[in-house]
Amino acid sequence: MHRRTALTLLASLPAFAGFSTKALAAEWDSILSEAKGQTVYWHAWGGDPKINDFITWIGDKAQERYGVTLEHVKLAATSDAVARVLAEQQAGQTDGGAVDLIWINGENFAAMKSQGLLYGPFTETLPNWPLVDVAGKPATVTDFTLPTDGFESPWAMAQLVFEYDTAWLQNPPQSIDLLLEWSISNPGRFTYPQPPDYLGTTFLKQVLYGVMADPSVLQSPVDDASYAAQVAPLWAYLDRLHPTLWREAKAFPQNEPALGQLLADGEIDISFAFNPGRASAEIAAGTLPDTVRTFVLQGGTIGNASFVAIPFNAAHRAGALVIANLLLDPEVQARAQDPAVLGFQTVLDLQSLSGEDRARFEALDLGVATLSPADLGPVLLEPHASWMTRIAQDWTARYGVAQ
């Protein structure tokens, strides 16, 4: 017991991290043995059956390799889990918490980290951590401009791509301004999920990048004094766009799958997703026609990473660490990137992988509708989390209680 405590201390000290590889391995072995037989409650958004199936598959792997049982707690919104941990903290429950692992990023991560609701730093303890492409994909350690500091571990990369059906539309509008012009001449054929939905707010941020005089201010927290003037072009843009939207903006789809369903039903011509492989995956699943293709905007689209974090009071911390590590496993990452499964972009650095593991990625058929990494264009960094909160709030006040 004493030795393990000492090892834990040693491993958690960054200064020792470099030369304690052996200690780390021992520490990981003890984590593995502690995790065996645990049931990990992973709170993750449950609105997409493909992701749910993937998590089920992860559960099978975890059981098979480590004897860890994985329970997917399907959330309608990640904030449900955050609220729960917060409530537990306020009720003085410092261990045995209900949430072991959360799929998280952005404002939820910022909120949890600042309120001391997270366990960590833990990412350096994960044996698979060195495989992560920290240098090539800075979004794996910077979450909405906030350094992750090892309090969350990435498991998938996402980038905003637009989807359209070539059967109806040949030349999609490839900038925010052109999109407005297109929607004005094709009324009722475009919409976005209702903020504060994640994807809907991302669209607003993408518009901000397109209409702001100086988008670089997005990398700093919102400045109350200049905020109104900075975002005025966004509201002007939306005031022009809304009357031309699907249902004249009197109703909005509620989230990404609902938006995708509108494209599948032919209710809209252009949709978008935070996943470059979604369209191909849906075509493979037979829910989108194979004439659907994707495009990105000139100047780039917003991209970020999805993470998992462990609450400070998680009842099954060892099991949660095992799952976080398993998510970084090359086999798991390659499966997530398979468009027939999820079509998520990997967080790993393919150069650092063994030949066998690299081959898993090279063997993937990205699908008819997926753009190659080169065609995906530049990735715009997520604005500071305060922007998301603020514009979602203001959007609700302006448009969310309409009439």
Partner: protein, 548 residues
């Protein structure tokens, strides 16, 4: 009712209301302040009251019209057979079926397009989630009408309906007038509590509002649920304040309804003095009643058929009337989670129903052996869980259960379901139980049988049918619960209903269809078992089969 049962029903509600009121008024009223500052408040309040009152008014009016036009006729048996099974359809499934049917890309539009409408793509029409809550109102009417009708059917024999109608008919009154003047006053007395329950439900429903209701802003109850889920706990004060407001609104609406009752009564009495026979309106009234019954049965039936079809659909593009291929892919890939969720749903429903049956039987038996007469107050208490809006006390109950570690378990969900299952089981069972011929017991007692022996060997076997029906009702109620499962289950206990509603926002029609089909199937199986089991049990006792 014995104190234990009363306590079981009232304690969670009282505790929940207290748990809601504390944060609402605590912290210097910060929650109330934020609630009042929310720009959507006036509209969402108006929506709650409007959809609740209008849907209740319509459902009640149509119920009475159907009764007035058809009670005692052969057509009535058909209408009854058509509507009764709809009672067991969970609210969420009914709402989803309706949504699939009436959406601009829904089945109706697909069937008519492009031949009749010329639509190659779905029309840009705001039908679902419309700002006035019309589709929500329609959904509520379709779901509540069968409930009110069956409650009325149970009441009709008690007020000697047939003889009164015959008397009125011989005096030359038309069917509608005869019903209105001779039956309605007594009938409504028995329908009042169910009507209040419908009103309270209509104003505060969360699952139906999330699926069919407006979103800019949503109804108050749906917005409270959204606030409960927000990341910063400060919104919980707002949610609690909203829940208190919701309770006040429900009380106000029921009071308003009471006032309307008094005026309607006065008007009826005044009209009755002029003794209008009104025989001429019988035909048009019968036509409207038939149309309404057909429309509601048809809407729900086609909606549910549409759900089933989507669950086995491959690619199904607009405006195709039918899927390109029929495939079991959805069922195969979702199989494991469907099985698991069904099992959880069944375990909870069975547990809650068995407990409710035991309590209801114990109460009724105590009532019979102690010769108690059921008071009006006891009946109101029985209805309490149906009258107090779920959204008003469940958030409080969740906040109380959390520090005690009571939430998030199957047992806790089962316990909270019991609160809602018990009234229905009791209502379903009490009629037949009280109607049982007491002379049989007297005869047995003179032969030396004990109270217990009479209950186990005579009363219970002879009431097998009603007991099984009550059990099926209990199962259906439990399977349909959304908010109690969500709040007390803490997101960790998943039933078919919570899964279907969670998926509904995502728009994956195939998977929603699969969950909804199971939501329908389980109660239907319970009802079929309730019908088939007595036949099998009494296969060599012919007279027993007709009992109950």
């Amino acid at each position: 009712m014995p104190p234990l049962t009363l306590g079981l029903m009232t304690l969670p509600i009282a505790a929940g209301l207290a748990g809601t009121a504390l944060p609402a008024f605590g912290n210097g009223g910060a929650g109330i302040e934020k609630l009042l500052a929310w720009p959507g408040l006036p509209k969402s309040v108006a929506l709650s009251i409007g959809t609740g009152l209008v849907s209740t008014l319509l459902a009640l009016a149509l119920t009475l019209l159907i009764l007035a036009a058809f009670a005692g006729t052969p057509a009535f048996a058909r209408i009854r057979r058509g509507l009764a099974p709809l009672l067991s359809v969970p609210h969420a499934a009914a709402a989803l079926g309706l949504a699939f049917l009436i959406a601009p890309s829904g089945w109706i539009a697909r069937l008519l397009s492009p031949e009749l409408t010329g639509w190659q793509v779905p029309p840009d029409l705001l039908i679902l989630n419309d700002p006035l809550g019309l589709s929500l109102t329609l959904g509520l009417v379709a779901k509540e009408l069968p409930f009110l009708l069956l409650m009325a059917l149970a009441a009709l024999p008690q007020i000697d309906a047939d003889r009164r109608l015959t008397t009125a008919a011989t005096l030359g009154y038309g069917r509608i007038a005869a019903f209105t003047f001779t039956l309605l006053p007594d009938l409504y007395r028995q329908l009042r509590l169910p009507t209040y329950a419908v009103l309270a439900y209509g104003m505060t429903t969360v699952d139906m509002a999330l699926i069919l209701g407006p979103t800019l802003p949503p109804t108050l109850s749906a917005q409270i649920t959204l606030w409960m889920g927000e990341a910063n706990l400060t919104m919980r004060d707002t949610a609690a304040a909203g829940a208190v407001l919701q309770l006040v609104l429900a009380v106000l609406a029921i009071s308003l309804w009471r006032v309307m009752e008094i005026f309607t009564k006065r008007a009826l009495i005044a009209i009755a003095f002029t003794a209008p026979r009104l025989a001429l309106i019988d035909r048009p009234a019968a036509f409207i009643a038939r149309l309404a019954a057909l429309l509601i049965t048809g809407t729900l039936a086609f909606g549910l058929a549409g759900l089933s079809l989507w669950s086995v659909a491959g690619l199904w593009q607009f405006p195709d009337a039918w899927p390109e291929e029929i495939t079991l892919r959805t069922w195969a890939t979702a199989g494991p989670s469907l099985r698991e969720t069904s099992a959880t749903t069944l375990i909870i429903a069975t547990g809650a129903t068995l407990a409710a049956l035991a309590l209801a039987l114990a109460c009724l038996q105590a009532e019979a052996s102690l010769h108690l007469t059921p008071t009006k107050r006891a009946l109101v208490l029985l209805y309490l869980p149906l009258l107090v809006p779920q959204i008003a006390f469940l958030p409080g109950l969740q906040m109380l259960a959390l520090p005690l570690g009571l939430d998030g378990t199957v047992a806790a969900v089962m316990a909270i379901h019991l609160v809602f299952v018990l009234p229905y089981v009791f209502l379903s069972l009490s009629g037949p139980f009280r109607a049982w011929d007491g002379r049989i017991a007297t005869a047995a007692a003179t032969l030396g049988a004990s109270e217990a022996r009479i209950f186990w060997r005579l009363r219970l076997p002879m009431l097998t049918g009603p007991v099984l029906t009550a059990a099926a009702v209990g199962m259906a109620v439990s399977i349909g619960q959304y908010l109690p499962t969500l709040m007390i289950g803490g997101g960790r206990v998943e039933t078919l209903t919570t899964e279907a509603v969670a998926l509904s926002s995502g728009g994956n029609r195939r998977l929603i269809g699969a969950y909804a089909v199971l939501q329908l199937l389980l109660p239907a199986l319970a009802f079929s078992a309730a019908l088939a089991l007595p036949l099998w049990l009494w296969r060599d006792r012919r007279l027993m089969r007709g009992l109950g």
